[in-house]
Amino acid sequence: MAVITVLEAIREAMREEMRNDDRVFIMGEDIGARGGVFLATEGFLSEFGEERIIDTPLAESSIAGIALGAAMSGLRPIAEIEFADFIWPTINQIVGEAAKVRYGTEGKLNAPMVLRAPQGGGVRGALYHSQSVEAIFAHTPGLKVVTPSTPYDAKGLLKSSIRDDDPVIFLEHKRTYRLVKGEVPDQEYTIPLGKADVKKLGEDISIITYGLMVHHCLEAAQMASLKNISVEVLDLRTVRPLDVESIINTVKKTGKTLIVYEDNQALGIGSEVSALISQHAFEYLDAPVIRLGGPEVPAMPFSPPLENMFMIDAEKISTAIKELAEY
């Protein structure tokens, strides 16, 4: 088993799928000679050529719309949006169009496409290079939304996303790209979409989370264990479809739940998870379900103390764990 970064895992997943299936191609800004601003497609132009590695004009709506048209006519495009903050012009083509292709044609057409974008903060990215965009897409039936946390997950989930017959929004936390390393099997594997993963077993408190926050939660869980608080960490991996069964199972086990996510807290993924818990596991709760999410400001500011105020870290999670443990 090789130890690789999240970025390398993403690169490997795309390379393997492109080698396996000539319907797969990539389009996006700077993905050709530059290899992508984060180098996710480094070396791809020389291996796959200009026909399958398409440097596009700086026009996100058409990146999504052209990918959608290609998907509806039999190809499997991966459209890269350089930063998730630039994804908003695609909303019309993705939420308005791609999500409705199958339903609006009574299943005669479908849109097997992946829209990849690096998202999230804590990288001094300020308002327009730090946003988290999952909730907007996750609201829409017809779409799938994937938020991987580790190299193993990123590779297996991206391969499944490329093979999926419906549109998938694949949101990579850019801070995990080089920071997070992990073992990835040498042999081929995939991870099914819609299956959460228990990243750490525990007895007293469940943390439900995804993306970069998985790592901060694991760190906080480690700190809590020194105080004899046993924390279970459930990584959702995909936020649509949600793995309701795994969510309910962990809540039934511990009775206390903390939901951690970097995106704005209100009306976010945690709001839906919380509602599902109160509907399906109410009798098992020993404390109110707590959300620890992004604050009520529209985006993450630039200056370090301001950015830190927005970002959730192990320390903030530890405080929430302590409060919940004492309830």
Partner: protein, 326 residues
Amino acid sequence: METNLKIQDELLLKMYKEMVLCRTLDERIWMLNRQGKAAIMASSQGHEAGQIGSVAALRKGYDQCYIYYRDLAVLLTLGLTPAEIIKGFVAKEGEPLSGARQFPTHGAHPEYGVINLSNVIATHIPQAVGAALTAKMKKEDRVIVAYFGDGASSAGDCHEAMNFAAIHKLPIIFFCENNGYAISVPLSKQMAVANVAARAEGYGMPGIEIDGCDILAVYETTVEAVAKARAGLGPTLIEANVERYLPHTSDDDDSIYRSSQEIEEAKKRDPLRLLREQLLERKILDLKEDKHIHESAKEIVNKATEEAENAPYPETTDFFKHVYAE
């Protein structure tokens, strides 16, 4: 030369029959709306020569048409039956494009190569470019036609799509049916240039403005653009100047923004009348046959109306189907 003329005569007569049928069907659907039986209708009256003349230049069932809501004649000429079309307007079971989930004429019919996904203006133009990209990547000689109105030509998606198609020399025709109005907004408030075709130069592709009521001009221009696209020589923007004889839709009142004199003036170039006169003059058609063509169209539409009205509404059992792959 003589043979060519003979083929042309046959083609013109065939297109005339299609146009009569489409006009008869269109009038019937408008009536069904006024009777409270069809919830919404966007009439194609005045657009038919643009639509029928361009479809005639395509390989049916192989080339693909990304159409918009006013393209009744495209649907009819590509192969949908009047009964299937009316079923869409009365939202009945057996509607083939979306199972009556969508507005009439919306959805897809892959066998006929026709897609009308959305009500959001111009979103289909980049999608059509994506289909053209597929044709190029698969090395198929398929041609895509994106039909849109003058209103759509203002949308950002239209610009982005044309730019990309021209860069990659994709096999696509941008077919603008310019009727001079985006619902109520006249051309003078939509663009500062004289015509949509002029924009093509800015993308590096040919832009051709034609009389969209002259079906032969439409046909010949499209044939040339299709041949060019099929040969890998890139896209063409065709602007067909057509007329809109009825309000934007059955929910619109055009008397608020359009004078009756203007509409009467526009009717002087009614594509149906122009083609009829041409056929009579060239003795391709006589009055007796013309009468028969009209009666036959009426009969077809009567039968279709009856079939559609008698059809049941769709069951709700499949309401949750086709959200994701099953």
